[in-house]
């Protein structure tokens, strides 16, 4: 094969982040926490409680927004056009500048990843799950999305287009799943219960 030289050569790639010994940054972060604890600035208990508090503050907000989009077509339209503005209607101030809501249909299934780190709409969905941050998910879902989705129990017909979104820069994403037909007449509160975090990332579909 001919080899044209209009490009640079990629240097050897570094190690994986969640495999093998901790990286320099992980060690630095742990050392910093230990120092802060030692000096009495923070306690491990405070750090743990802060994380717990974050989880308490945020986890169900995404489900409420999407449940509302399911019952109000006008709101869904606004959400798909400008996710941040639509969330603001709920009093949710996203930490990111932009939220892109992507809708699953009979033709398209959306799934979200951040291959560079773990960008995630935290103010909407809470803290990202460990698997979302894992090198395994980040590497493989862009290469073999159907295989990864299958591992989450989501098997999609060949005719459905799989649309992977790499949340690699300034946008954040949320998936608007398809509303199951059997949920007609359900209240938004009840609908929100089947809108799991995984469904809003796109690795699963809402089950009744």
């Amino acid at each position: 094969m001919s080899h044209d030289h209009d490009h640079d050569h990629p240097p050897a790639k570094g190690r994986d982040h969640d495999e093998g010994p901790p990286s320099e940054h992980e060690i630095l972060s742990r050392a910093m926490q230990e120092l802060l604890e030692e000096k009495g600035v923070l306690t491990a208990e405070q750090i743990r409680r802060r994380m717990e508090q974050f989880d308490k503050d945020f986890p169900t907000r995404g489900a409420r927004v999407i449940a509302h989009a399911w019952v109000d077509p006008q709101f869904k339209k606004r959400l798909l056009a400008d996710g941040k503005a639509a969330c603001a209607e709920f009093g949710i101030d996203l930490e990111a500048d932009r939220l892109i809501a992507v809708e699953n249909t009979a033709e398209v299934h959306n799934v979200v990843v951040c291959t560079l780190c773990s960008c995630y709409p935290r103010a909407l969905l809470g803290m990202p799950p460990t698997w979302y941050k894992s090198e395994n998910y980040r590497k493989r879902v862009v290469r073999d999305p159907r295989g990864v989705l299958k591992e989450f129990g989501t098997v999609l017909p060949e005719k459905v287009t799989v649309r992977v979104h790499d949340s690699n820069a300034d946008m954040r994403y949320v998936v608007v799943p398809m509303r199951p037909k059997q949920t007609e007449g359900w209240s938004e509160e009840r609908l929100a219960k089947i809108l799991t975090r995984d469904a809003l990332v796109g690795v699963s579909i809402p089950l009744i």
Binding site: D97, V142, T161, D166
Partner: protein
């Protein structure tokens, strides 16, 4: 499938939705937000996200000015991974800053 965006469009920009673009096959050191796997690949502008402070500058404590135009670029999975086993119509969309993009030939 592409929706009209309500975002503030970037006035001085090189590309519009539907334009074919090629991501630069370049590997400079430093903080880059262009994933490796997409470098050198050809896709289509899906939407204009707006202008944002340049993350390659922000990462080192600079202002990030002038802002750079950010696009979402849609690629066919088979273009990105020649041995892709899934459906031929499967897609991947990636956020790419304008200075990483060149105009590409084709419809």
């Amino acid at each position: 499938m592409t929706l009209p965006s309500a975002y503030t469009p970037a006035p001085d920009r090189r590309f519009n939705p539907g334009d074919r673009v090629r991501v630069k096959a370049s590997y400079p050191p430093g903080h880059r937000r262009t994933p490796w796997y997409i470098r050198g690949k050809t896709g289509v502008i899906e939407r204009v996200c707006g202008a944002f402070p340049n993350p390659e500058e922000l990462a080192y404590g600079f202002s990030g000015e002038p802002k750079r135009v950010l696009y979402r670029v849609r690629f066919s999975m088979r273009e990105v991974w020649p041995d892709y086993q899934g459906a031929a119509h499967d897609l991947i969309e990636v956020e790419i800053y304008e200075h990483w993009l060149d105009a590409a030939q084709g419809a």
